[in-house]
């Protein structure tokens, strides 16, 4: 039986360095939440506090309604998979998987069936007698997962378990982790720095930056409605334009854009995704004139950098287009936008 996880007002200092600043995170029972952020943002520290491997300087951790602060890591109903598989090198695969049950005093002869079931689950049947050194990175991580799941923990904690694997294997493994999660319906916290991974696997994402929980929401919200410029930037939004909002019209350096908001703000950031803009040879409603500066390939598409034509020089805008589009440097073009795709950030950065 799984339970939800709540981190309430968590603060953590290492000496004078404040690595977690008043984190509040509520994970529902059976939910998979990714803690996403760049290196050093405090995501692993938060996970280790939930696990009990670190103690918070202040704040509480709950599993369901049960306060965990004074419960040691050995006694918390968790299982954790780390960046490296960390299989015990002196044990066989079967002994590794059975480790937690043997530590509880269960007899070896009673465990064979359960170990075999776990090996079936992680698609490694017949690997019982192998040694950790004989396995590939992906296989080792599967064994590590099996070793965690055999305890039937309430909460599964995954600390960048895929980052040591190569790209193809990562995609395969993240699908596998999601399947396992859906099978066991276990509350899962998944730490990653890879936004694609977080988007693919999560029910919700908790985005952290410099020890602050910047945004918590469903994956789509991070693309379509970032709550701060930091989030927008992390999720690849190239156009974060800071300007004014007057009766629903966003203005910046001679550029005026229609939006669906009917507000007035002296300072606001318009987040417009480059793939939501398109190039046009003729001016149409909801478009503005610009000049192509240069472009670069991004995968199978092209990112075009343009300067908006306005008195005194307009802002720079990025447009992502099909790679077969005919482009020429310094050409005057029109950039078409959709008012409903302009997301206005009025909180945090803009206040």
């Amino acid at each position: 039986m799984s339970s939800g996880v709540s981190a309430v007002n968590i603060k953590k200092n290492f000496g004078d360095n404040e690595v977690l600043k008043d984190i509040n995170l509520d994970v529902k029972e059976g939910e998979l939440v990714s803690i996403l952020g760049s290196s050093g943002c405090g995501k692993t520290t938060l996970l280790r506090i939930v696990a009990g491997l670190e103690y918070a300087s202040s704040g509480d951790v709950y599993f369901g309604n049960e306060l965990q602060n004074n419960i040691s890591v050995e006694k918390r109903s968790i299982a954790m998979v780390f960046q490296k598989a960390l299989l015990f090198p002196n044990m066989t695969i079967a002994e590794n998987i059975a480790f937690s049950l043997r530590a509880k005093g269960e007899k070896v002869e009673n465990l064979k069936k359960r170990v075999d079931e776990m090996l079936e689950l992680v698609r490694l049947p017949g690997f019982s007698n192998r040694r950790p050194g004989e396995l590939s990175g992906g296989q080792e991580q599967r064994v590590s997962l099996a070793r965690s799941l055999i305890r039937n923990p309430k909460v599964l904690l995954l600390d960048e378990p895929l980052s040591a694997l190569d790209a193809n294997l990562r995609v395969e493994m993240r699908t596998f982790i999601r399947e396992i999660h859906d099978n066991f319906k276990m509350t899962t916290l998944f730490v990653t720095h890879d936004q694609e991974e977080a988007m693919a696997i999560s029910d919700r994402i908790a985005f952290m930056d410099s020890g602050v929980l910047e945004q918590l929401g469903v994956p789509e919200s991070f693309v379509s409605a970032p709550e701060s410029a930091k989030v927008g930037k992390f999720f690849g939004c190239k156009n974060l334009l800071e300007g004014k909002l007057q009766n629903g019209k966003f203005t910046i350096k001679g550029l005026e854009l229609n939006t669906e908001e009917h507000l007035t703000r002296s300072r606001v950031i318009a987040a417009i995704r480059q793939e939501d803009l398109s190039l046009s040879e003729i001016g149409v409603p909801d478009s503005f004139a610009a000049q192509i500066i240069d472009w670069q390939f991004v995968g199978s598409r092209v990112l075009v950098r343009c300067d908006v034509i306005a008195d005194g020089g307009g802002p720079t805008v990025f447009v992502e287009v099909d790679r077969f589009e005919d482009l020429s440097r310094s050409a005057k073009i029109f950039i078409k936008y959709s008012p409903r795709r302009i997301h206005l950030i009025t909180s945090k950065d803009s206040n």
Binding site: L53, V73, M80, F82, L86, A103, G133
Partner: protein
Amino acid sequence: MGVETKRATPTTFPVREKRIRVLWLILPTLLVLGILFLGGFFFGVLQSFGLFSVVVDDSSGVSLDAYRAALASEKVRAGLALTFRIAVLATVLSTIIALILAISISRTKRFQKLIISLTQFNIPIPHVVAATAILLTFSQSGIISRVSNAIGLTEGTSDFPIITNDPSGFGILLSFLWKEIPFMCILILGALRGPVTALDETAKTLGASYSYRLRKVIIPYIFPSILSGTIIVFAFTFGSFEVPFILGQPYPPMLSVATYEFYTDRDLVNRPIAMALATLTSLSIAFLVLIYMRVTRRETRKK
């Protein structure tokens, strides 16, 4: 017209040239080692086979007489038994005590650096100084004996128990333990700070108690480091000369002291016996070093 520029390429040496360069660089050390140690050892081996003898006519060729005489000697047999006993005891006790100490230190959160400094302070002190200090402290004419006499605990210094220069080699053992426990402790502490900490954390998250983790994860993982340390300690205590020379009793002497006595004997006929004993000791230690190298290589490969 553009100016043609020549791009500088980094200087590279072929492998053979590199090897010759390295050989030149280590030549001074090789010469000192070669002449003083290997040369001496080689000459000693030849003497142990009855060659280059100062008194015996060696025209009859290679002889194993010195080895036979050495192994037949009661003094050598008794000395070998004593040496073996002290080396094994020093190795086992220092390993066990150091392991307990290192584990306790690694679990201590407060004043850990201070405790480590206190336990390691005697590492740079030479064995000869340690042996002399133990002699001055624990002998019948030593500080403790005099203090106990002064405060009336004993009647005269001869009433004080014989701790040094005793038949059981207790003083020698004490000196070895005083030096080898910190050495083993620093070795084990180093191993405890390595990748085993991550394995220990993993075992914690799997619900294992400390004693279970210690038995099943920590000690098996650091065992190769412990083993290599015990081999070093055994090899050292087995071949050590200065400590048994200062703290040992005249009979039976430890093997190194017996070797010295045969070498400095007025009867020069005994010199090949000394060389035979030195050769046997060196070969035994070389064998242990070989095991040590194999263990460390296996450990490196595994990690």
